[in-house]
């Protein structure tokens, strides 16, 4: 009797396993496979000998890495650019959402939303095509405007002084509109009677924003900050790879672009993997920390 029951349950379980099988295999090969490849960071790797056949050299690659003259600069750039994007990525959308909430002409509001969400959906290749053209110091329309205002043209993408800020600004340009969505949803969720009560108490729109809207949005902002923290080191590669050039390496080179140059362009597989391991380590700590913080303080669960 007992045996029959367990067979019955087994039969019901089997379809689930079969349904999951294709995904399990694909994820196994293409996500877990590269994780085994992390061993390359401790080897003098050559593709011919493979991961298991290459010579084991311990921490040699990491020592080599430490002696790359620009490595500290690269680490600094990675964090500096990430930090700017992180702060702007929360503050600007929140502010714009609050302002957008004060637009009562619904057609105008809809039009503004349509326009500011759109850049999110364009790839960095397309945006680079656009930015390289419009930011050009000689022919770009942005510098034409700057010159018209009576200032010297700015070499946004070629001047190391400007480059990191250009990255933060263009990223913000791309994402701020899309970022407003969660805050607008939170504002819609606010009980209108709160505003009515404040109105009766004689609080103006400004006071209502400070005392009702903002406190609702801040936890959401914190949650977004925490969730973005996790991905922040992975954020910049596509943008910077397409927009940088050797003359801005001093302020624009980040870990991911360095990995690409050493690994793919110079074929120093082991060293590049070592940079990758270093970055993945920091990244993993950040991501885990961010999910933990979000679960603890934001009451957020991904599943």
């Amino acid at each position: 009797m007992k045996k029959k029951g367990s067979i019955g349950r087994h039969q019901k379980q089997l379809p689930y396993h079969i349904m999951l099988l294709p995904a399990v295999i694909l994820v196994g090969i293409f996500s877990y496979g590269p994780m085994i490849g992390i061993l390359m960071a401790f080897e003098k790797f050559t593709p011919k000998k493979g991961i298991l056949g290459s010579e084991w050299i311990g921490l040699e690659n990491f020592r080599y890495l430490k002696n790359i003259p620009d490595i500290n600069g690269v680490i600094f750039n990675t964090f500096f650019i990430a930090a700017m994007k992180l702060v702007l990525g929360v503050a600007v959308p929140m502010l714009v959402a609050i302002l957008l909430n004060e637009v009562h002409l619904s057609k105008v509001k809809k039009a503004i939303q349509t326009l500011i969400y759109f850049p999110h959906f364009l790839s960095w290749v397309i945006l680079s095509g656009i930015f390289i053209d419009i930011l050009s110091p000689s022919t770009g329309i942005v510098n034409e405007f700057i010159k018209w205002l009576g200032f010297e043209p700015v070499f946004f993408l070629g001047d190391p002084k400007w480059f990191p800020y250009t990255m933060a600004l263009t990223e913000t340009w791309k994402e701020f509109g899309f970022g407003t969505i969660v805050y607008l949803a939170a504002i819609v969720g606010i009980d209108p009677s709160l505003y009515e009560a404040a109105e009766v108490d004689g609080a103006g729109r400004w006071r209502q924003t400070i005392e009702i809207t903002l406190p609702t949005l801040l936890p959401m902002g914190m949650l977004m900050l925490v969730l973005n923290l996790g991905g922040v080191l992975n954020l910049s590669f596509e943008q910077i790879y397409n927009l940088y050039s050797p003359q801005v390496y001093s302020t624009g080179d980040i870990l991911d672009t360095l990995v690409y140059r050493i690994g793919i362009e110079n074929a120093q597989w082991g060293v590049a993997s070592a940079v990758g391991v270093f970055k993945s380590l920091i990244s993993t700590i950040f991501v885990s920390l961010s999910y933990w913080l979000a679960a603890k303080f934001g009451n957020y669960r991904l599943f």
Binding site: F30, G33, I36, L115, V125, D133, V182, L223, Y300
Partner: protein, 300 residues
């Protein structure tokens, strides 16, 4: 509209000032998002002479389709365009099929499906950890997919984040309908495709549109995993043209025509053509994504 104007008249002077300032500010922000694209469009539709003399701003000067003719007749561009189309047509249905098939077992309770927790972690961990660029490249090399079209499809075939979003959506559907189906003797596949999928149409539509945009926009894998430029999807090809100015990818006919169509107008035209599909599906996207994101991304 009338309401808004009526209440505007009742505002205090200070608030009137703020409202006007606010409209101006937000409309400027919207224009800042729009104008760079209008500028590129105007450049692509102007003659190269007008562009190089710096007359073109937001309206074409000396209107011509020349740059677009150049792009359409350029064999490399069209090859890459079809690679991208193929990629979307094969990649997106596969993404969605795998998302649905994977989300269903994971959306069961631990009682219904005992392996659920282990499987969920198996997928979730890939969101936390990754092997990094070089090991990834080596994996693809090992599997033998370098320079193979399927390298653009298979590695990203299971969009784990989307699986989790859909799983969460399945879980919040009322269980009564499903139970009724079980009583009627429906199989798992029938429950999934006859009951759950039709109930999740908005979510699935949103995820599908996001998959289309992702496949269309991704360029890095193409550049990394394809040695032969004939296999490049459009965005990878565009990357080499617009960003790298790789002369080796230009045929002689290109260099000849370039004297008529300037480098700048042709780049603008190519950029615009590559953005066009996203522009076309954007209205559909917009209808769904606000709802979808709030549902899946942040739940209290």
């Amino acid at each position: 509209m009338k309401e808004a104007i009526k209440s505007f008249k009742k505002y205090s002077g200070q608030r009137k000032c703020f409202t006007i300032f606010n409209y101006i500010l937000l409309i400027s922000l919207a224009l800042i998002c729009l104008l760079p694209m209008i500028n590129i469009l105007a450049i692509s539709l102007s003659s190269s002479a007008a562009v190089s003399s710096g007359e073109v701003r937001f309206w074409p000067v000396d209107f011509t389709w020349e740059s677009y003719n150049f792009v359409i007749e350029k064999p490399e561009f069209m090859t890459a365009f079809w690679v991208s189309v193929k990629r979307v047509l094969i990649g997106v249905p596969l993404n969605m099929l795998l998302t649905i098939l994977t989300a269903y077992p994971l959306s069961r309770t631990n009682k219904q499906f005992r392996g659920r927790t282990a499987y969920t972690w198996y997928f979730f961990i890939t969101l936390l950890l990754s092997g990094g660029l070089v090991p990834y490249y080596m994996t693809i090399l090992k599997v033998g997919l370098i320079d193979n079209f399927w390298a653009l499809i298979l590695p990203g075939a299971v969009p784990v984040y989307n699986v989790i979003i859909l799983m969460n959506f399945f879980r919040q559907l009322p269980s009564e309908i499903e139970e009724a189906a079980i009583v009627d003797g429906a199989s798992h596949l029938q429950i999934l495709f006859r009951v759950l999928v039709p109930l999740s149409k908005p979510s699935i539509a949103t995820l599908t549109l996001f998959c289309i945009v992702n496949h269309w926009n991704s360029w890095f894998e193409g550049l990394l995993l394809m040695n032969n430029p004939v296999n490049y999807p459009l965005q990878s090809y565009l990357q080499t043209v617009v960003v790298n100015r790789d002369m080796s990818l230009m045929s002689t006919s290109d260099i000849l025509t370039l004297s008529m169509v300037s480098d700048r107008t042709s780049k603008a035209a190519q950029t615009f053509v590559a953005a066009l599909p996203v522009l076309i599906i954007y209205p559909f996207l917009q209808r769904y994504f606000t709802k979808g994101i709030v549902l899946g991304g942040v739940k209290g």
